[in-house]
Structures are given as structure tokens and as C-alpha cells.
Amino acid sequence: MVMPRGTAIVVVLVLAGLLLVPVLGSNYLVDLSTEILIYMLFALSLNVLIGYSGNVSFGHAAYFAIGGYTCAILLTTYEWPLLLAFPAAVLLSGLAAAFVGYFCVKLTDIYFAMLTLAFAMFVWAVAFKWRDMTGGDDGFVGVTVPALIDGRVPYFYFTLVVVSISIALLWVICHSAFGRTLVAVRENRTRAGFVGVNTRAMRHVAFVVAGTFAGIAGALLAMYNHGMYVESAFWTESAQVLIMTLLGGMYSFFGPAMGAALLYLLNVFTIQYTEYWPTVQGVILLIILLFVPEGVVGLGQKIRQQLAKAD
């Protein structure tokens, strides 16, 4: 349960740096940091499934979108206070994940992935077709955000607090006995079954945890954009968060967060410099795959080992 000292120091430094962003940085940096924090949480939530239970979801955007739409609709259409709307959104994401997970954990590997995709596209279609409730493909525009956090800097701090608490909770979950059992299940499902672990139930819980935290990220994005759009539930969004996770390194806790930051920045900067940003991203992906297959975290470890040797 105890965080290694090196990691703990880095976490504290990053947190301190983030706290100072609105003081030292431009409006742009505040926006960018808010966006990245949200995607970090999204990617970390997916990693509970991939990194810890070994199941790849192609439909993780569904829970992100359910969280986002629920929060947006409860706040705006039904004028619920944030303190009710936000937890309700998170709860609904978790419940949706519990329902879908019940069916998905019966399957493994690619069939698991495809079933998550099928359910997610169903969520997308409902958001698309239910125009009265969700605004359809026009999007749910003009979300009412409580005055207290409706502003660039206040919202950044709100996001920072929610994301930090969420990540801390995820850390505790993944490093508890439950998390270690999940890893055992991932490593050898048959043997974990022999020693009396109900592997299916374990994977189901992981599914619910992942969906719940994705819902938090989605609710944060809906309020940040003052809008929620069907594209957030589309399979391309699920693919994006999957790439973030793999890019960062799925077998380390913080890897996906770094992958999220890296891919998001890559998205933001390549589109500023060239119309051919897909090629630039594709080439960078190829380089990482061929030369840094363990992800960014793996690269970091490699460099550290090299430096240690040199010392």
C-alpha cells in the first residue's frame, strides 16, 4: 500500500506544479491543464480493466459519455444542484458498467472487447436518437455550471481536486488486496481459479470501478465544455483512450496518465503546425511501438537504468 518514495516525491512535485499553474501560467495553459487532467483520469480508469484485469475494452467511452450526459442533463434540464447531479452521474455510469459488465465478463479477449464495443455503440445511438433529452447529434449545448466553479481558474481547481481524489482512490484500489488479486487473475486465470478466486466476479468489479471513474471524467468534461456531444460516445473516442493507455504503459499505475498527457499534447500541437497531423501522429506511434514497446514509462525506466550505469 505504501507508495515508493521516488514516486511519492514526483507526485507531490507534480501536484505542487499544478497548483501553481493559474498563478504562473496563461489562460491557455490553465485550459490545457484542465483538459489533460480529465483525460488522465479517463485513461487511468481504463487501465483498471486493461492493466490490472487484462481485459481490453473497445467501448470505454460509453461510461464517459453516460457520466457527461447525466451530469449535463440533471444540472441543466432538471436544475439539480451540483452536489446531487455529480454523484448521480457517477452512480449511473457505475450502474451502466455493472449491467454491461455482467454480460461482458463471461467472455474474454477479443470477444470481450467486441461486446463492450457493441454496448458502447448502443449508448452512442441512444444519445444520437434521443433528441428531446440529449439534443441528438446537435449536442447538449449550454450546460448550467454552478456559479462557484463557473470560470476558468475556479473550474481548474475543481477539476484538480476531483481528479486528485479520484486518482488517489484508484491507487488505493489497485494496490489493495483486491488489486493484487486482479493482477494474479490477469497473469493466470486458470490458476487463480484453482486457488479459489472467483475470477469472473473479480473482473466484474474491475469493470464497474473502471466505468465509475470514467463517468467522473465525463461529467468533468461536460461542465468544462458547457456541452456534451455524441462523438464522446463514439468508438473513435474509445480507441483514443485505449491508445493513451497503451502509449503510457499499461502495466504501471501512472503510465496511462502520462500516455494521456502525451497524446493530448500531440493532438493539440500537431494540429497547430500541420494539416497532415495524422501522419505526424502515426509516425510517432510507429516509433514508440518499434523502439519503445513498454510505453513511455518503459522508456523512462530504460533511461534511468542507463543513467545509473553511467554514474
Binding site: 470477444y111 448502443f122 497503451l246 502515426g282 509516425v283 511501438l289 514497446p293
Partner: protein
């Protein structure tokens, strides 16, 4: 709903289902072949399809009125994609086989990004139209002289696809079941370690399968070109449909894909008459139902316990 009781419409929708299904099968066959042997989920299959359509357009537009230009375009599309696939497999993918499966998935995603841009650089952003080949421009009269309220015409081009689909399926089946290469490939889908133990050149098998599967995507693109606008973005829709077909049929199963494509064809024709407002989601619901009922697909093998 009353249309479902009109025999003419039912007949035409039946034909529509089969022609659409066969068109989709020719494209999806390559995807299932590649998955069966390489265990790679090839996201780039859609972009290969798009390249096939573009190559066919380039050939046809240069040869203008020449008879057989279209068929040359189809062959050129297959050949071009075979070359591209060879370069990709030998140059890059080949180095990733011993890595996690997910890394191969990411790899094919990178190829999608790069090749999508490449198409834009070569062909620009216009939409192009490939005319139907000579002899298949018109329609066949199925009324056989009977006096009907509604003309019973069926266009010749999709009719040709109804024939070509089974030809491709049987051809592939013959190659896979009757030739030595086919037996090697089938063995590779069952047990890869065994293959190497038997002294087979496994890397060569992989290359051959990736090249053949990709060439099929190219040919599928060329065959689709006379029916649809050839334009950027045409890769996105098709890749999802291919995945659905392959999953419904059972990954790696040729006849599974054949059946999956037919079912999707029927859902798209009759489904939209029964649920007119839900075309958006019909194919996903189909995949959902099949996976809940038979998680390994209609013709797939149940997974062994564990991995």
C-alpha cells in the same frame, strides 16, 4: 409495413440483401483470413479498401473508354494493395509479432493515420465517380413478360456481385482445403508452434496471408467503386461493418464471414422496413445479440478455458 406484403418489393429487397452481403463478404474475407492466421486485428483494412477504390478510379479514368478498363482497375487495385501490404508486413509489422497483441492493434491504427493522409496527398479531397463497366450498366428484367404494377427490374451490377461473392468464397475454400499452402494456412490458425516444429517457414506464411488478405480488401474497394462515391472517409464506415461481420461469423472462419455478411445484408434491407427509425443501431444490436447468444460467433470455436 404494407410493403412487406408486396411480393415485388419483398423480392427486390431479397436481392438487395444478397448483393450487399456479397459485396461486404468480399471485403471482410481478407480481414478474417488475416485474423485467423496472424491474430492481428487489422484496423487498416478499411484504409486498404479505400486505396483499392482510388487505384481503380485512377486506372479507369486514364483508360477512359477502353473496354475492360474497369476489370483492369480491379486487378490493379488487388496488385497495388498486395505490394503495399508486403512492404508494411516485411518492413514493420513483422518486428511486432513477438510483442503484445495490443501493440499490433496500435500498429495498424498508425497505418490508418498515415495512409489516410497519403490518400489525401495523392488524390486530393475531391469525390470521384467510377462508371459501371460496359455490359453491367443496365438492369435485368425479372418480370418475364408478366404485366406487373411495378417494374421488376434488377440492376446488372449488383446482380454480378451476387454471383461473384460465392465464386470468391468457393475459390478461397478450395485454396484453403485442397492445396498444400491452404493446409499450411489452416494449420497456422490452429497451432502456430506446431507449424514451426514441423519445419515450416512460418514468417513466409504470415507474409503471404497478410498480402493475400490485403489484396482482397483492395479488390473489394475496386468492386465497390461503381456503386459509391470514391472519397476521403470511406474507410471509416466499412471497417466497422467488416468487424461486425467477422465477429458475428466467428473470427477466422471463412464461411462464418460469408453468413455474417449475408445476415448484415438482410438486416440492412428488411430491418429498416420493420424498424425504419433505427438503421443507425441495427447492425450493433445484431452483433450484441449474436455475442450474447454465441460469444464465439456463429461458426467460431469456443475458447479454451483460461487463455
Amino acid at each position: 409495413m404494407s410493403m412487406l406484403t408486396n411480393p415485388t418489393i419483398v423480392f427486390l429487397q431479397f436481392m438487395n440483401s444478397i448483393s450487399l452481403g456479397m459485396n461486404l463478404f468480399i471485403i471482410a474475407a481478407g480481414l478474417t483470413l488475416i485474423f485467423g492466421v496472424l491474430r492481428v486485428i487489422n484496423f487498416a483494412h478499411g484504409v486498404f479498401f479505400m486505396f483499392g477504390a482510388y487505384v481503380c478510379y485512377s486506372v479507369v479514368s486514364r483508360m477512359a473508354e477502353t473496354a475492360g478498363a474497369f476489370w483492369l482497375g480491379v486487378l490493379a487495385a488487388g496488385a497495388a494493395l498486395a505490394v503495399i501490404a508486403f512492404i508494411i508486413e516485411r518492413g514493420l509489422l513483422h518486428y511486432l509479432y513477438d510483442k503484445e497483441h495490443l501493440m499490433q492493434l496500435l500498429f495498424t491504427f498508425a497505418i490508418v493515420l498515415i495512409m489516410g493522409d497519403l490518400a489525401k496527398m495523392i488524390w486530393g479531397t475531391d469525390q470521384y465517380s467510377v462508371p459501371k463497366p460496359e455490359g453491367l450498366k443496365g438492369a435485368v428484367d425479372f418480370s418475364f413478360g408478366a404485366d406487373l404494377a411495378m417494374p421488376l427490374l434488377y440492376p446488372a451490377y449488383p446482380l454480378m456481385l451476387c454471383v461473384l461473392g460465392p465464386v470468391v468464397a468457393i475459390g478461397m475454400w478450395l485454396v484453403l482445403s485442397k492445396t498444400r499452402w491452404g493446409r499450411v494456412i489452416r494449420a497456422a490458425t490452429q497451432d502456430r508452434e506446431m507449424l514451426a516444429a514441423l519445419g515450416m517457414n512460418v514468417p513466409l506464411v504470415y507474409t503471404a496471408v497478410f498480402v493475400a488478405g490485403s489484396a482482397l480488401a483492395g479488390i473489394g474497394g475496386a468492386l465497390a467503386a461503381p456503386r459509391v462515391a470514391v472519397s476521403p472517409g470511406m474507410d471509416v464506415t466499412i471497417i466497422v461493418e467488416c468487424f461486425i461481420i467477422v465477429i458475428i461469423g466467428g473470427l477466422g472462419s471463412l464461411w462464418g464471414s460469408f453468413l455474417g455478411a449475408l445476415i448484415l445484408g438482410f438486416v440492412n434491407s428488411f430491418g429498416i422496413m420493420i424498424f425504419p427509425n433505427w438503421e443507425l443501431v441495427l447492425s450493433y444490436v445484431l452483433m450484441l445479440l449474436v455475442l450474447l447468444w454465441r460469444p464465439w460467433g456463429l461458426f467460431g470455436q469456443p475458447e479454451a478455458d483460461g487463455h
